[in-house]
């Protein structure tokens, strides 16, 4: 049956392109029968990014992202509660009141926040393992992104993040054209072939079969070149090289945060750059985007000279004029320096807010999930404890014992 749905997908996609194409002649017919073709809007590079799966499927506003996480968590919690209730009902007779109470107190479904923490803990793990395996930077980045996207679609209560660490890295290798056979990968990662492949299809499905990622590394290189051009002679090349290397490392860390959902790769790159040398980047952006705009005016408008005079007179007028002109012409492709800076600063803030999750925290959350899945364990532990207590070992440090066992 899956083949049918796949077929359906492709047909619906083709429908999109079809309508896109067939609309054009209709417009022509309406306007005139002659060969006078009214050109559709030009496709800018930004438009191309808007067509990417990264933008269409994997970009969110902060609200929609929160909502998505909440929904995934809610679904999972409902399932957990159902199974717990069933467990208690099934063993109604054999369970004592204390046991039921402890189950209810220990087997608490995780909150979206806790879920997010656990995912980011394991995302860091993915990064560390992938780097330990000496994989190229882009493969490391892709595996982090894949891992995060998987747990954006699925809950940690349903899939143990441990099981997916190797699977995502392996799939990332394949999708980034860095092929390693399963067996040699399993050997290197000290895992098992079946374990790696077990969830591979589920992973692909959750990724909605979108495997191409736009990472900030290429933009980093691009900006490295463009800064040299714009600030020619004003910047030390050795220094630039050093910054480039630093930023490359920082980018991988930035991918662990939510910026990948809220910002485009060039924006992330600039934020990382800005974090490294704010003055340099500010100067670069000012030169780059304010000067080109005024140049544009001298080329295109007849009243440019008067405008220029105004420019010289007072600065406040410039921005207003610029904005108006931008609105009049279809120059959406032009970049507003101010809003760009705001975006970049937001992005920088978000990167800086990243907190590493301690192993202790992660273990506590993990234990919760484990209890939810296996309420049996709680009962057994309780029994053991009671036995110990009745044996005469009046060790009432039950909590302490419990913690030890859970970890």
């Amino acid at each position: 049956m899956s083949s049918i749905s796949a077929e359906k997908d492709t047909t619906t996609v083709s429908e999109d392109t079809n309508t896109g194409v067939t609309n054009i002649p209709n417009q022509n017919e309406l306007s005139s029968n002659k060969e006078e073709i009214k050109r559709p809007k030009r496709v800018t590079d930004d438009d191309l990014y808007r067509r990417s799966s990264q933008y269409r499927l994997w970009s969110f506003t902060t609200d929609s992202l929160r909502e998505k996480r909440f929904l995934v968590n809610e679904n999972a919690t409902l399932k957990v509660k159902d199974s717990l209730n069933k467990f208690i009902e099934d063993k109604q007779n054999s369970l004592s009141d204390i046991e039921i109470q402890t189950i209810k107190s220990k087997a608490v479904p995780v909150t979206p926040d806790e879920e997010l923490k656990l995912v980011s803990f394991y995302a860091k793990k993915v990064q560390m393992i992938a780097q330990h395996l000496n994989l190229p930077t882009e493969v490391v980045a892709t595996s982090i992104i894949f891992f995060k996207r998987f747990f954006l679609e699925n809950s940690v209560t349903e899939f143990d993040p441990k099981d997916l660490v190797h699977t995502t890295i392996f799939l990332a290798c394949k999708s980034e054209n860095y092929f390693i056979s399963v067996d040699s990968f399993a050997k290197k990662a000290k895992s098992k072939r079946d374990e790696i492949l077990k969830y591979e299809f589920k992973l692909l499905e959750s990724l909605k079969f979108t495997l191409l990622n736009h990472h900030p590394y290429k933009p980093l290189h691009g900006f490295y070149l463009d800064i040299q051009n714009v600030l020619h002679g004003k910047v030390d090349l050795n220094y630039m090289g050093k910054i480039y290397d630093k930023c490359k490392k920082k980018i991988t860390d930035a991918l662990l945060t939510d910026v990948v959902y809220h910002f485009t790769p060039p924006q992330i790159t600039l934020a990382v750059f800005l974090n490294e040398d704010e003055q340099l980047i500010r100067r670069y952006l000012e030169l780059k985007f304010s000067s080109t705009e005024t140049n544009q005016f001298t080329d295109s408008t007849t009243t440019a000279t008067t405008n220029n005079n105004n420019n010289n007179n007072n600065n406040a007028n410039i921005t207003e004029n610029d904005d108006k002109k931008n609105g009049n012409k279809d120059e959406e492709n032009k970049i507003n320096l101010e809003s760009l800076l705001n975006i970049i600063l937001d992005c920088k803030k978000m990167i800086a807010s990243y907190q590493t999750i301690s192993t202790q925290d992660a273990k506590l959350i993990y234990a919760k999930i484990y209890y939810c899945k296996n309420p049996n364990v709680i009962v057994q532990k309780l029994k053991r404890k009671l036995e110990q207590a009745s044996d005469g070992n009046s060790n009432k440090n039950t909590e302490h014992v419990d913690k030890k066992q859970s970890t």
Binding site: M1, I4, K8, T11, T12, E15, T17, N18, V21, I24, P25, N28, I37, R39, P40, K41, R42, V43, T44, D45, D46, D47, L48, Y49, R50, Y55, S59, F60, T61, D63, S64, H214, K218, P219, L220, H221, G222, F223, Y224, L225, D226, Q228, N229, H232, L237, M240, Y261, H262, F263, T264, P265, P266, Q267, L270, T292, E332, N333, I335, S339, L340
Partner: protein, 332 residues
């Protein structure tokens, strides 16, 4: 037990125990009721007098002789599915045109059809599915008939076209061979003519002149075969759809398509022309990039088409692609 035997001896009829060794022209038949394999002579023997029970132990299906057919696929389950598919598709035979090009509706229709096939194949709600099939057939009798007719016509015209193409190719090949032969003959004649003329003429004549004049006459001799071939090619070019062979209705749709194609814009990979105002300029000599510059000096890279400026262009393009997308505003 039965299965075991079957696997044990694929070439033996389980009813009369004849096998291929003794009668080499043994043929097996199956009946779509139960897909049990029975040899031809057994079918003749058992079912000649009318419908009878399947001779397999434990199978109580009543079989008729006229329903028996040769098995095409080795795997019975495949055979069964193909049969079901054929039957269902003959009834559910609407095409995209019947939906006036509404892809969603058509996809839904296909999905329904696939569900019926799947259920019939796996024995889920068979009665209900049969009922569905029957009612659909009743309701859409005319349409089904019309579609079947159309399929028939399509396949026929396709066959005709193929036939036509084949003939044309054959003709072409013949002509080509003829031309080749003529050319060879011409060459031979030219050689002889040159020698003849040189022997008969006096010394004052320039040898080169003689040779040239002979060659010219050869060139002017454009054979009739060549002319024919050119004509044939022209016919093939001007008539890519072999309009003569199409029925008028199809011809019309073809014309429509041609018209539409002419009206369409030239193909652009991005569904529209690229914006040529880039946010960057590639200025090679300004860049100091030891990594890429090193690559340029290595033969194995340049040989396989590595160009530094392309690389720069790509990097810069990626740097500015999506810079103006404000996700928080656009997706809100």
């Amino acid at each position: 037990m039965n299965e075991y035997e079957e696997e044990e001896n694929k070439d033996m009829c389980p009813i009369c125990k004849t096998d291929r060794y003794l009668s080499p022209d043994l043929k097996f038949l199956v009946n779509p009721e139960c897909y049990h394999k029975i040899c031809e002579s057994c079918v003749d023997r058992i079912f000649s007098l009318g419908p009878a029970q399947c001779p397999y132990k434990g199978c109580d299906k009543i079989l008729r002789k006229n329903k028996f057919k040769t098995q095409i696929f080795d795997d019975v389950s495949v055979e069964k599915e193909v049969d079901i598919r054929k039957r269902v598709f003959n009834v559910f035979n609407k095409t995209l045109q019947d939906f006036n090009g509404n892809l969603d509706e058509y996809n839904k229709y296909l999905e329904d059809r696939e569900d019926i096939v799947y259920n019939l194949d796996h024995g889920i709600d068979v009665d209900k599915m049969e009922e569905k099939l029957r009612t659909y057939e009743e309701l859409n009798k005319q349409l089904i008939q019309a579609n079947l007719e159309r399929f028939k016509q399509d396949t026929e015209s396709f066959k005709q076209r193929q036939q036509f193409e084949k003939e044309m190719k054959l003709k072409k090949r013949l002509l080509e061979r003829q031309i080749e032969e003529e050319e060879r003959a011409n060459k031979r004649w030219a050689k002889r003519e040159i020698v003849n003329r040189l022997t008969t003429s006096n010394l004052s004549v320039d040898t080169n002149e003689v040779i040239d004049s002979v060659k010219n006459t050869v060139k002017l001799k454009k054979s009739s075969a060549r002319r024919k071939l050119e004509e044939l090619n022209r016919v093939l070019q001007n008539n890519p759809y072999f309009g003569a062979n199409m029925n008028p209705q199809n011809n019309k749709t073809m014309m429509m398509m041609m018209m539409q194609r002419r009206q369409l814009e030239p193909f652009t990979p991005f569904n529209g022309d690229r914006d040529l105002n880039q946010r960057y300029v590639v200025t090679r000599d300004q860049y100091e990039d030891p990594f890429i510059q090193d690559l340029e000096k290595r033969k194995e890279y340049t040989a396989s088409g590595f160009r530094v400026d392309y690389t720069y262009d790509r990097l810069l393009n990626e740097a500015f692609r999506g810079l103006g997308c404000i996700i928080s505003e656009e997706l809100a």
